[in-house]
């Protein structure tokens, strides 16, 4: 049981929690994630550690509501307890001063990108962040990204905010105007696939942080496996970051969709019977 110290609402669907976790705070490096579980019937859900405070013995998590588990977590408040929280998991991000770094994110990838942007900036990089979404209301964490980036480019599919176009259009506009040394991308698998294809054309080393389905997060089950450079890797222990030019994104997309119908069913149940389904606290 880990106590929520404070809760900050970034937007309708995005919440930041400060959670008591002294041991994890001490062991945390940028890129690590935790697994949380809300309620005795809760699912194990991976979340990137956004930042940590060793003195206070706390970590921050930025959560975007997409389905049942994230909705259950977002419904908690300061003073509530998270049933289970374990970590830090995964390999730490390799952070160095590359020069100019392009960070391209969208959708579910925006929250986990924030700590990477912050760490890259701190290491002295010139950071250009491309933030993409379908429309204006789905653009999240803009203020926080601006704080830690030299430039933020907003892209929306419908042109309701920023520039009309896809994340790749945003990236290409930068690549055509200046030289970029390194690229990081986090988001839906299909997005990362196209980002990878584009930066490969420009020969820019690119890292993708993969958000596969996970169960234990410790290398025990293989649910998170992906093919990288024709070899099977476990994202929770070998990743979550891999060379975007080597990842078999088509296979990853296929595997991500595997539980889609079942998840939709769970969300429906949650929506229809919110009281009964809500975690006991």
């Amino acid at each position: 049981m880990n106590k929520i110290i404070s809760k900050e609402i970034f937007s309708e669907n995005v919440v930041q929690f400060e959670v008591e976790a002294p041991l994890i705070a001490k062991a945390h490096r940028a890129g690590h994630f935790v697994i949380v579980r809300v309620g005795e019937q809760g699912e194990r859900m991976p979340l990137t550690i956004a930042s940590s405070d060793v003195q206070k013995g706390s970590i921050n998590l930025v959560v975007q509501k997409v389905g049942v588990s994230s909705a259950k977590l977002c419904a908690l408040n300061a003073g509530d307890y998270i049933t289970d929280l374990v970590g830090p998991l995964g390999k730490a991000t390799h952070i160095e001063n590359f020069g100019t770094v392009l960070c391209a994110c969208g959708g579910v990838g925006t929250a986990p990108m924030l700590p990477i942007v912050r760490a890259l900036k701190k290491a002295g990089n010139r950071v250009i962040t491309v933030l993409a979404a379908r429309s204006k209301t789905l653009i999240i964490l803009e203020k926080q990204m601006r704080e830690h980036s030299d430039e933020v480019i907003i892209m929306t599919d419908d042109g309701s905010y920023g520039t009309k176009g896809l994340v790749t259009n945003g990236i290409e506009s930068v690549l055509q105007r200046e030289s970029v040394d390194f690229c990081v991308t986090v988001g839906p698998a299909i997005m990362m696939k196209f980002v990878g294809q584009l930066t490969q054309k420009y020969r820019i080393p690119t890292v993708a942080s993969l958000n596969t389905i996970m169960v234990d997060g410790t290398g025990m089950c293989g649910a998170c496996r992906v093919t990288v450079d024709k070899k099977t890797k476990f994202v929770c222990v070998d990743g979550p970051e891999f060379d975007a030019h080597q990842v078999d994104f088509d296979e990853m997309i296929m595997r991500l969709n595997a539980y889609k119908d079942l998840e939709r069913g769970a969300m429906q149940r949650f929506a229809e019977q919110p009281e009964q389904d809500r975690p006991a606290m």
Binding site: A27, E43, S69, D216, T218, C221, G222, R225, A266
Partner: protein
């Protein structure tokens, strides 16, 4: 393990002698082996109730009569922890069930578990004198289960006496059978024991692997509560090597660490189509169902409920997976195994149970590829037909391909159960620790001490995949030698 002289002495007690002489060996052998009552296969294959119902008192006492109370109880040579088999069985014969349970507890920390899951036909029962006389072995496992269940159901479980506190902290990493038995023995000796567990449940494979229809959770929980009442502390959601390191433990005053982190890494076969949706490891499947309760409507964790499910492998894990799939509604649940049924490493009883539940056994077959639909969901498996050749290093006849003979079978779910590798977390996070080329931790076989004196190890992390009783035995041996080592310091 008990001294031989003590076992002899117990055998010479008056009540044992007169019990022995009260019935002729010939008559004892003539009694047919009592069959374990079990739930109807058609009904049980649709629910999660325990399959074996347990012996009644009369059945247990009858079965106990079959035991000859041998002067040289060869059965004990087959038990990895040396349970005092004739003594506990003779207590059952006279109806003194609590004494039988106490006898078991002297050597086995989890008799209710071992009675259910030990491969008895390869261990204790394989050495029973009855087999030499062309009779069936005494049901040692069923009797062990009976005595342990009797004690638990009587509600007065004897909490072992705990020595005065030594004020010395020791840790176990992992809460499977190895970690639990280590913790129990160290607590008895007066140590301050903490058990660190990576998952949100205590029990290791006993909880997340072996299904409840074979080993109900309550049984494991009673043992865990027992340890709690002896003062053992459990720390869940704590991964040693990630959340804290062994160096942190040392700095925190821990004087000895027993690593019992198990074999948690699933192996795949690296054949085409193995990453299709619907193909998963048995670890993933069983974890979803057993640990995450995914088959229940109230659980947030999803699980596939395939109609045509193939499980690849012939061990206990494969049997557990295929029988689980059956219970989750599979119309055709198949075992695909590359040797013949005789070579299957699973417990005989589980194979019989699986067959009764309508599982299809496709033996002498090995998958070579999987095919999927346009959505990437598995739809077919390609099997290579095999035949048995000469015996290999393991003494089993090696399977070899019959060239050109393949089969294509429709499936909508495949569970790969071809073994696990040792959990690499601890070996990777401790420098200077001797690790074999298979990734197991190297220890001195009698003391279980590793190349780093304060670190001991046992169970699957040392043996690769083994058994509950071997893991437990390792825990007990490590406790004994860690105590000796700490006392000398």
């Amino acid at each position: 393990m008990k001294e031989e002289s003590q076992i002899k002495q117990e055998r010479e007690q008056d009540w044992r002698v007169s019990l022995r002489n009260g019935m002729k060996a010939k008559d004892r052998i003539a009694i047919p082996r009592v069959q374990m009552p079990e739930r109807d296969a058609r009904i049980r294959s649709t629910n999660n109730e325990e399959v074996n119902l347990g012996l009644t008192e009369t059945q247990a006492m009858t079965e106990a009569q079959r035991c000859l109370d041998c002067a040289k109880p060869t059965c004990m040579d087959g038990c990895p922890v040396g349970v005092n088999i004739p003594t506990f069985i003779k207590y059952i014969e006279v109806g003194n069930f609590p004494a039988a349970a106490r006898t078991l507890k002297q050597t086995s920390a989890l008799p209710a578990v071992c009675g259910r899951v030990c491969p008895q036909e390869k261990q204790c029962e394989a050495h029973c004198i009855h087999l030499k006389m062309k009779s069936t072995a005494v049901s040692i496992g069923n009797l062990e289960r009976f005595a342990a269940d009797y004690e638990r159901n009587s509600g007065c479980i004897s909490v072992p006496e705990v020595a005065a506190s030594k004020g010395i902290k020791v840790a176990a990493v992992g809460s499977g059978p190895a970690g639990l038995s280590f913790a129990g023995d160290m607590a008895k000796l007066g140590y301050d024991v903490s058990v660190f567990e990576a998952l949100h449940e205590i029990g290791g494979v006993l909880k997340y692997g072996i299904p409840v229809f074979r080993l109900p959770n309550e049984i494991v929980d009673v043992e865990i509560d027992n340890l709690r009442s002896m003062g053992v502390k459990f720390v869940k959601n704590c991964i040693v090597g990630k959340t804290i390191t062994i160096d942190d433990l040392k700095a925190d005053g821990f004087k000895g660490v027993f690593v019992a982190s198990g074999a948690g890494l699933p192996r795949f076969m690296n054949i085409p189509g193995e990453n299709l949706a619907g193909v998963m490891s048995s670890n993933e499947y069983l974890t979803r169902v057993n640990l995450m309760n995914a088959a229940s409507a109230t659980s947030d964790t999803p699980v596939y409920t395939g109609k045509k499910v193939a499980v690849i492998g012939g061990g206990n894990t494969a049997m557990d997976s295929v029988r689980t799939a059956r219970r989750l509604g599979a119309e055709r649940a198949m075992i695909v195994y590359r040797r013949s049924e005789e070579e299957m490493p699973a417990r005989r009883e589980e194979i019989h149970h699986a067959k009764a539940e309508g599982i299809d056994f496709l033996t002498l077959r090995n998958p070579i590829a999987y095919q999927g639909d346009e959505k990437g969901r598995v739809t077919h498996m390609q099997l290579q037909v095999m035949e048995l050749g000469e015996a290999d290093a393991s003494g089993r006849r090696a399977p070899r391909e019959i060239p050109g003979k393949t089969e294509c079978i429709e499936v909508d779910e495949v569970i790969v159960s071809v073994g696990v590798s040792p959990n690499p977390l601890i070996p990777q996070s401790v420098s200077g620790l001797d690790v074999s080329k298979w990734g197991t931790i190297v220890v001195d076989e009698s003391s279980m001490q590793s190349s780093i004196p304060m670190i001991f190890a046992g169970g699957d992390i040392v043996r690769g995949g083994a058994t509950v009783i071997l893991a437990m035995g390792d825990g007990r041996r490590a406790a004994k030698s860690m105590n000796e080592w700490l006392s000398k310091k």
